[in-house]
Each structure stands twice: as structure tokens, then as C-alpha cells.
Amino acid sequence: MNFRYLPMTEEDQKEMLQFLGISSVDELFADIPDEIKLNRRLQIPEALSEPEAVKYFSRLAKKNVNSDDYIYFLGAGIYDHYIPSTVNHVISRSEFYTAYTPYQPEISQGELQAIFEFQTMICELTGMDAANSSMYDGPTALAEAANLACGVTRKKKVVISKAVHPQSRAILQVNANGQGYDVVEVDIKNGLTDLEALDQAVDQDTAAVIVQYPNFLGSIEDLAAIEKIAHKHKGLFVVSSNPLSLGVLKPPGEFAADIVVGEAQPFGIPMQFGGPSCGYFAVRNKYMRKIPGRIVGQTTDEDGKRGFVLTLQAREQHIRREKATSNICSNQALNALAASVAMTALGKRGVQEVAIQNIQKAHYAKQAINQLEGYEVVFDAPTFNEFVIKAPKPVSEINSALLKRGIVGGYDLGRDYKELSQHILLAVTEARTKEEIDLLVQGLGEI
């Protein structure tokens, strides 16, 4: 057995020990009290050689149903999209993936420029002024937006629509418990945030109103109407948005959103069991110096040449320590790079085309399922690439039957919404063909 990652030979070790004037490595651990030394081998499985590891992990991987072999209509926050081949080739360049945070800008211009471009693309899509270099994921970005809003307004209530992703709301609640603010959830009506209820919930104490666009149920919220309510009492208007949908939907920035957050997974990031993905965080200029996390800025070098650096660091934990308003340090930079490559590959026309195909295909599926006996599209709100259907049987039963037909069915909304038991959230992306959609429809019809 070789330890192929460990270059130290016996000869090396001997020379180094000799130089240090000691006879064994153990002496370097003499400062660890004996009573806390392990003094036994770790009880973990023995090392696998490379070929053994390949075998072992291939076998484990094969136990998982995956989108190479099955047709996916499952979304609810993570989607099966077309990933241009270029993405994996770029992020596999080890100058990128084996580097860390670009603390030394002179030898990190590649990463810094790529992130500067990412920030620009996020601003373009969202219609916002400034964006950071990434957050852990969409839901944690949303919670950080709420923290920011409470910080700048010094108010202690956050109003969020129940049509926001249940996991985002769950994470927000933990943040609120930590920071000591209240979260008020607003009901859903016909697949959209109930505007009357929202209006009643928002008051002088409201730091932020948070909605999702398109929302968790797939419906496209009317941001124009919500913005009026959100800003009525000088709270911040926070929108969590699928950036791919913004190829077609009017960006939240044009509805005077103060903070836009979301999940860049639809751009070039595989589903990977939900992570790592890539949160984004964008604001109006007014809040630029309150953004959490790393930000890249443009500057010049001593010869006046353009270059890029990490900037506005006075916001960050390593400077502010206990006065910091966010603790994020490592982020999701490599996935921001993946998203940038995908956004570049698609480009100005591609994001529109992909977004439109999502709308068309989802619409086609929605219409077809609506005609099936026993199934019903329950909301008439406009949708992007997801929609809700009421099913004649428990969702788990339907999904097991679909699985046998090589289809991974939709999300069981009864898990999060009592009133929506036997309701399925289906996702139809550009990656689905008409033939695949027809198979789904046929399958549903025959169950």
C-alpha cells in the first residue's frame, strides 16, 4: 500500500528528524498530554487503493436513480437543466479549483475577474446595482437578506409569503431565533401570495417583505402590486428569484426591489443531491456597503493597468469580528464560476431562449395533464417552469408508479402544506422533450 499523496520518504524523514535533533516524530507531539492521546488506531475502514476506491464508489453511485437513466419532472428548488460541456471543462482547470479565496490579487486575477464578471451578470439579470461573489445557496442568501433588512431598518419583524420555499422559511426562522426578530408568514390564495393578508401583516415595525418570483408553487407573483405594499411602511422589498426565469420575466430591480437573492443552480450546476449550489445576493447601491460576503472590485495597478481585488472588506468578519453582521467566509466561488460559464455560453439570446422553452414546455404539459380524467390544474396564476396539479391518489403512490415507467415524478406538496395534500408540484424544463412529456401524461393517465 502506497500513500500516494504523501511524498515523505524514510530518508527525508531521517534527515528532518536529524536536523531537529530528535529521534522520532512522536517527540513533536510531546506537548499533547498523554491522558488525551488516542493511543489506538482510528476505528474507520482500512484504506482503499485507487482501483478499489473506483470500484467501491461506482457501485455506491449505481444504487442511485439518476437523470441519465430517468426522466425528471422533479424541481422545487433544484432543477435538471442543459449544462453546456464547456462548464465542466472550465471548472476542472485546477488553477481555479485548487486555489482559495484570492487574497493575493497579483496571482489571482483569473478568479477575481471571473467573479467580477459573475457579479455583472447577476446585476444584469436581476436589474440591480451590485452583487456579491456568492452565498452558500438561495435559502441562506434569503435569510441574510432578512438579517440585513433588520440591521438597516432597526426593525424587528420580517414578513414572508408562505409561497416562499419551505426550506428558505425554515432557515430564516433559525436566523430570526439567533438575531431576535419575528417572522410573520402570509397565506397563499390561488397559488399566489394573498395580497390582502400581506397588506394586513405589513406595518411600521416591518423590516422586510419577502416573496419568491416565480414562487414555490411555480406561480409568477405580481411584483408591482407587492412592491406597493412592501414599501408602504418603509420596509425593504426582498425578492428571491430564479435567475433563469429573468430571461423572460421583468427583473425585480425594475419593481424597485431593495435586495434580490436566489439560487444560480439552473445555470451550469448539476443537481448533486442539492449541493453545492450557488446563492447570489444583489442590492441597490444604497446597501452596497451592507452586503454580506466577498465582493470583487475593479481598480488599477501601479502602471495604471486595470485589475481586480477583493474590496469593501471593512464589512467582513475578519475585520469587524464581533461587530460583524454576517459571518460568511468561504462561499461557493467555484459554482459562481460554473454559473458564469453557463451564463456566458447561453449569452444574451440563450437565456431568453431557454427561459421561453421552459415556459412553453411547462405550459404544454400543464394543458395536457389538465385534460386527464381525475387530474386538475388548480391555480390559474401564470407560471414559469413549474405548476401544481391535484391528483386522484396520494402523491407517493403516483410517484412509485411513475418510477416503474422510468420517470421521477413531482414534489409532494402535502409535505409542507396541509391544504395541498394530494397536490403535486411538477417541473418541466427545456431538458424535457415532447416525447418525455407525453410519456408523463400517458403515465399519469394510466395510474
Binding site: Y5, L6, D12, D31, P33, L38, I44, A47, L48, A53, V54, L60, K63, L74, T86, H89, V90, E95, F96, Y97, T98, Y103, Q104, E106, I107, G110, Q113, M121, C123, A130, S134, Y136, D137, P139, T140, Q167, N175, N177, Q179, I220, L246, M271, F273, G275, P276, I295, E302, K305, H318, E322, A324, S330, A333, N335, T344, L346, G347, K348, I356, Y364
Partner: protein
Amino acid sequence: MIKQKEKALIFEMSRPGRAAYDLPDCDVPETKLEELIPSHLIRQTPAELPEVSELDLMRHYTELSNRNHGIDSGFYPLGSCTMKYNPKINEDVARYPGFAKIHPYQSEETVQGALEVLYNLQTELAEITGMDEVTLQPAAGAQGEWSALMMIRAYHESRGENRTKVIVPDSAHGTNPASAAVAGLDTITIPSDEHGLVDVEELKKAVGPDTAALMLTNPNTLGLFEEHIVEIAKVVHEAGGLLYYDGANANAILGITRPGDMGFDVVHLNLHKTFTGPHGGGGPGAGPVGVKKILAPFLPRPQVVKVGDHFKLNHDIPQSIGRVKAFFGNFGILLRAFVYIRSNGPDGLLKVSQDAVLNANYMMRKLQPYFDLPYDRVCKHEFVLSGRRQKKLGVRTLDIAKRLLDFGFHPPTIYFPLIVEECMMIEPTETESKETLDAFINTMIQIAKEAEESPEIVLEAPHDTVVSRLDEVSAARKPILRYTPNHEASANPSNKETVKA
């Protein structure tokens, strides 16, 4: 010296009509967009994303990668970050369709392989850290800290105690106090003693009925093992507080000692460091948290459990703090770390720590004659030097760092920990050969000589990089955070196309 040209931004390379993607035509009957979406919600001005060909795209990012230094490019002794070699098999495994192309909401029986990875990783990390249970949800070290502090809060609250103070040594990483703040807890910073260790007398003064926890990094950020840890644990526990282990620096202890045995109640690990994540240019990472039994009731939901031969998700954790991160954390990174653990086994992990510590001590002693060594004692996986001596000659640690760039080395972490003047924090890791260590040592010695004999060489460094030193002050004063196209185009909105339905 060759003058390098400015690199164009991808936006500046854009030409209308070019594309680097290819989709089949829409194969379903199409409906007019206006019939599907209210017109006031339809985008009128397209996002100005670049339009380039596939070759343009690859050349652009290849050129960017050539302007970036990674571990595969050269030595990267960035202290506290554990920049060790990132095994390639980890990257391959993470890309297997059975791992990369699976959805987090698939039913449990369709993802048994993935759940098995998570369950075994939980179990093996518990053994490595000496803890009882592990959550894999946190996305990075800082999130692990915050999750753990939320659990500590919940624990004290469940016992009807109001404990709001978190004690951290002045050598602590910035995320420690920041995580405390985000968890709604107050920080008390205590000074280190003259040996760079926790000052136990100061600790005794700081603890009390309001102590929630002591957060400690061990080996600490100076690379020194807190040899009074058993007493420290006693002091904190007797005051009713808990002991938190910042395991970002675990590379010195694998198979040698365990936080659980040292008396810690909770620990986070940075899998992107000790367990070869990789670092990704700043992330993604993974920051699992291990806890002793007393904290297990407060773990985030859900936990992966094994029932017979079956792996399941347990959501039934009534006192759980809730959810801290979507889905199962950064699964792809967790998987890579698991491959690494399995590739090393118990003997490999032990040798990792032994070699890392031997390398660090070797370098420290080799450099000692040339730089100030503030803490003259055996170190663990890393050590700190001070550039005090060179500063007197007008050469600062920043200059030394920049001079290292000329030799193809990534500099050490500088100006951290805050308690060491002109600090350089050097972590060689176990994956570097003796030749590399010697080459770095010789370069550092050369720079020390230059500081005495020809300081301008150091002060003007770097000489060979694609840009020279950058103006960070202007960058922060007048921030330019995005590319804006030249103004003729953007000032006249009527020039812009509208979205085609």
C-alpha cells in the same frame, strides 16, 4: 520583464449574433408569451449577457485560469487554510452520474447510495473527532460555528439558563466572534499568555454564570497545541459553560488526539481544508458539526439514520434548532471528503498529521535564524513568524509576501493572527516534498538577505506578475463592482432590443 497586456472582459469580447450554446428547437406547440404571462411582468430590455462563440469562451476562461495560482500550480503555504493536494479521484467520483445527477427530493429508496455516503461519513467523522453524533448540513466552517452556537443556546435555554457570553481568545479566527454575534450571543475576548496559549488565569476571571461557551482552536491559530486543555475544559465546565472546538485546523491531530477526548462538547470541521474539499477559489466548502450526547437533541433536521440495512432521513428531532442549509449540505464536497477518508484509512490519516507536523517544525527551525520566531516551541501543522526584524529595515511582511510571488510561491497568510506583529503564518501541509520545502526556505532566506542588502527589490515586488500591486484604497473608496458598457449604448434605451416571444 515582459509587460503583460490587459485582459479583456468577457463583455468586451461580445459580438451580436455569436453563441456558445445549442438547443434543439422547441418541439411542443407554442403559445404566444403574452397569452401566458401578463405583459407588465414580461421583460422588455434583455439582460446584457455576453455573446461569444464556444472557442472564444474557452480561450477567455483558459486565459483567466493562466492568471490564477492554485495548489497544482505551485506551493501554497497559506496558514490556517491547509492548502494540501486535492486528489483527482475525488473529482472523478463527484462527477459520477449516480452522485452528480440526483435530486435531493427523490424518495429515499432511490438514493440509498447517497444516503449511505452521508451516514458513513457522519459515523467516521464522529470517530475521528471523538463525538457522538454529526450533522453534515453546514456549508462551511463559519456556518458550522453558527449552527453549533445555536445548539449551545438551545441547550442552555432548555435547562432554563440564561447564558449569553461566548469567550474567545484574541488569536481566534474572525468567524468565531462573528458567528457568536449572528447567533445573538456576546463575545468576551481574552488575551493569550506569553507562550501564545490561553491564559488560564484570564479564563478563570472571564467565566461565570453567564458563560455559554469557550470557542477554542486547538492547535490554535499560532500552530500551538493548548497543552492546558484538560484544565481549560474543567474551568469552563465547572462554570456551566460548554467547550467549542474550531476544527478548521484539524490537520495535526488525526489519529493522535480527538476533541472529544480533550473535553470538547462540540466541534466543527472544515472538510475543504483537512479533508481536501477542494477550496474552489473560495468555496464551496463543508463544515460538519460533531456533538456529544448532551447536544444531540438540538441537531439540525433531518439526520441520516440507518435502520437495518436501510438508510433513512429522520425529521423527528423535536428540540432541533431547525434547518441551517438547504437539503443535505454541500453533498458534492462531503462526498469528496469521504473518498479522501476512505483512500487514507486509519494509517494514512495518522501519517497525514505526522508528516504535516514534521514538515512545519522543519521549516520553522530552518527559518528561525532569519526571522523572528515569536513562540519558540514545538509547533503543530503550522507556525508563525514575525517580520519585525525586516520592518526595521523598511521592509514589511506585505513586501515579503509580494516578493515571494516572483518565485512562483503563494505567500503565507499574513497579518493574522492579529496578536503577532507583521505576522506570517506558514502551513506547509504533508503533501509537499522536502525539495519544495527547501526551495521555499531558501527563497525566504534570500528575501531576508535582500531586505538587508537591496530592499528596493523587495519593496518593488512583484516584478513578474500580470499586474503590479493594485490600488486597494481607491477600489474601496469608489467601488466599481460591475462592468458597465460604454455610455452611448446604455444612455439610449431605444437602441436596445426587446425580448422576443
